[in-house]
């Protein structure tokens, strides 16, 4: 008699459970040395639930199918010169930021989940972490392939991997992940799985993918669709981690709360790059950062934390400050890049009249009062042939590593300065959130590799700006500076002239 086909649940149980055993040659604590020191108490690993019930054989089949479709679209995008169909040459800068700032984080996430998968002794989370690890590796690969078409024609892409490790502002996302990966496996799972993938991911993924859709970038949109089913699995893993930890032991709550507070604020700071991309870099805007924050954090996050209240978990500390900052963050960040355009790996520009009107409409409380005058002043200076550059290096926050350009809550005319002392040295922070994180772990953050200080220590190729840019592998005059007059703009204008001739 032929064997009966197994049901999904049975099949999942057979292929993912009972794979582990109690070791006898070595004590379990020696084999899994990382999953106790953080103070998290697990009484029963078998309580881990995986709502997706994905098994490895199905994983391969499913992913292969998706990628066949993605690569078919990428081929047709290349053959049809899809790069000529985007809304405007400026759009390309948004994907430069994505490739240099975000794609390498996918790789870091791959490493991080591989590590968590190895070091958590329960088989359920190990299987889930292993699959997410593979997802993240596929994501970095497919993103690089997707965006490679742009690298054939535009500057700023070629050295993305090298730049991620060296360029001053890319130390912001890089150090964020270095922090998570050098924490214990449970903190990593809460940091990346919950705080980033669950609470904040919609503020990263949706803006870039909708931005691509609105701006005619079919390649990146298709990547987004292809990754969507993975992302929903990642979100499920993130929420499962929280529920599992909080259900296992009441002593876990204060530890988890501290991590949620820390990683919410860390994530909020990194997302400032996305805020600026949405409000300033997309030629066709999707929505404002403030609107995205309202939908994806205030509303969706509010409902989530209401749901988690039954475990005693509260809304992350300083969520109210982050919400208030949504009125300012994109403007303050774009100002940073405008004045340091000579050291940026993408192009900058001043917003047009039409864009400023859009910003006024989206930011009625702040834009006209605090930021429009700044752009008008810079525009006048440009007209007079005195385009504004900041020729000094900025003070950086020791925790988030962003130039200390954020203002006091409630006072947009005064920079927020915070500081702490540790072992006789002073450390500076952009906010109470970043100061708290340092004060909780000064041993860790006093080791921060701050790009500005490293330059002055002589560790970044030399003492002058050209030396440092050479060390970044930055192609000066092509990768950096304003959009107007860039080789990117020239090739775009040439394409458009040609198209008009053909059409005319």
């Amino acid at each position: 008699m032929a064997a009966k086909k197994l049901g999904l649940k049975q099949r999942y149980a057979l292929m993912t459970r009972g794979l582990d055993w109690e070791t006898t040659y070595q004590p379990m604590d020696e084999v899994f040395p990382f999953d106790k020191f953080e103070g998290i108490k697990i009484t029963d690993w078998s309580k881990w639930e995986d709502p997706f019930r994905l098994t490895m054989d199905n994983y391969w089949k499913f992913q292969a199918e998706k990628e066949r479709k993605l690569y078919a679209v990428l081929d047709s995008f290349a053959q049809n010169n899809g790069q000529m169909g985007v809304s405007d040459a400026k759009y390309v800068n948004a994907i430069k930021l994505f490739l240099t700032g975000v794609s390498p984080l996918e790789y870091q996430a791959h490493r991080g989940f591989a590590h968590a998968g190895r070091h958590l002794r329960g088989v359920g989370p190990r299987v889930a972490a292993q699959m997410q690890s593979l997802d993240e590796l596929r994501h970095v690969q497919t993103q690089v392939h997707t965006i490679s078409q742009y690298n054939k024609y535009f500057d700023g892409f070629a050295e993305f991997r090298h730049m991620h490790d060296r360029v001053w502002y890319l130390s912001v996302p890089k150090s964020f992940f270095d922090d998570a990966r050098s924490a214990g496996p449970f903190e990593y799972m809460v940091a990346i799985g919950f705080a980033f993938e669950y609470v904040l991911t919609n503020l990263l993924f949706v803006p870039f993918m909708s931005g691509a859709a609105y701006n005619g970038d079919m390649a990146t949109v298709t990547f987004g669709f292809s990754a969507q089913s993975d992302e929903s699995r990642h979100m499920t893993l993130g929420i499962e981690v929280i529920k599992f930890l909080l259900e296992q032991h009441p002593d876990n709550l204060p530890i988890v709360q501290k991590w949620v507070d820390k990683w919410f604020w860390r994530g909020h700071r990194v997302l400032g790059l996305v805020a600026m991309m949405m409000d300033y870099m997309l030629p066709k805007k999707v929505m404002s950062w403030k609107e995205a924050w309202e939908i994806y954090f205030t509303e969706a996050g509010g409902a989530l934390f209401q749901d988690l209240e039954r475990y005693g978990l509260r809304v992350p500390k300083y969520a109210d400050v982050a919400t208030a900052e949504a009125e300012h963050m994109s403007h303050q960040n774009w100002s940073i890049f405008y004045q340091y355009t000579h050291a940026a790996g993408f192009h900058t520009w001043l917003p047009s009249d039409e864009e400023m009107d859009w910003l006024s409409e989206k930011y009625p409380n702040t834009f006209d009062k605090y930021y429009r005058p700044r752009y008008e002043m810079w525009r006048e200076m440009e007209k007079d042939g005195k385009r504004f550059y900041n020729n000094a290096l900025p003070q950086l926050c020791t925790t988030c590593q962003i130039p200390m350009g954020y203002t006091e809550p409630g006072d947009p005319t005064t920079i927020a300065f915070r500081s702490s002392e540790y072992k006789g040295d002073r450390y500076h922070f952009c906010s109470d959130g970043c100061k708290d994180i340092f004060d909780n772990e000064p041993e860790k953050f006093s080791q921060s590799w701050l790009p500005v200080h490293q330059i002055f220590q002589g560790n970044c190729g030399g003492a002058t700006v050209p030396d440092v840019l050479a060390w970044y592998n930055m192609n000066v005059g092509a990768d950096n500076m304003d959009q107007a007059g860039s080789p990117d703009q020239k090739i775009w204008d040439a394409w458009k002239t040609k198209q008009e001739k053909v059409a005319g």
Partner: protein, 123 residues
């Protein structure tokens, strides 16, 4: 308080990267012109601790803020200074160290009557 680490002696193995001795005889000093936020953040310099305060103003501070349209209107005698949040009246002849400026000190200055472009305080 303190980092939770795998090994109890974590603190013995850390490398504090911004120690004074790593800056080749200089100390890090941050300068910030209040209400002129077209300079997005305080600016950072490695300076010898024995540099006179006045030399710092003339040779470091002024050239880097000169691009601002308000710069020419500054009445330098009226400028208000703080070092690490303490108000000071700097002695221009004596050193940064003598004026209380240490490694990673923050010098903020206000220029009375000047609040940036259109007096908005953010430009």
């Amino acid at each position: 308080m303190g980092v939770v680490s795998l090994k109890p002696d974590y603190e013995q193995h850390i490398e504090i990267r911004d120690r004074l001795e790593n800056f080749h005889g200089n100390q890090i000093v941050y300068l910030h012109w209040e209400e002129h936020l077209s300079f997005c953040a305080a600016i950072c310099f490695p300076l010898p601790p024995d540099m006179p305060f006045g030399a710092m103003v003339e040779n470091v501070l002024k050239p880097h803020y000169a691009a601002h349209p308000d710069f020419e209107k500054v009445d330098w005698a009226a400028v208000k200074w703080t070092v690490d949040n303490t108000e000071i009246t700097p002695d221009m002849e004596t050193s940064l160290a003598d004026n209380g400026v240490g490694h990673k000190s923050l010098i903020r200055f206000w220029t009375p009557g000047l609040h940036g472009y259109k007096s908005v305080g953010t430009c």
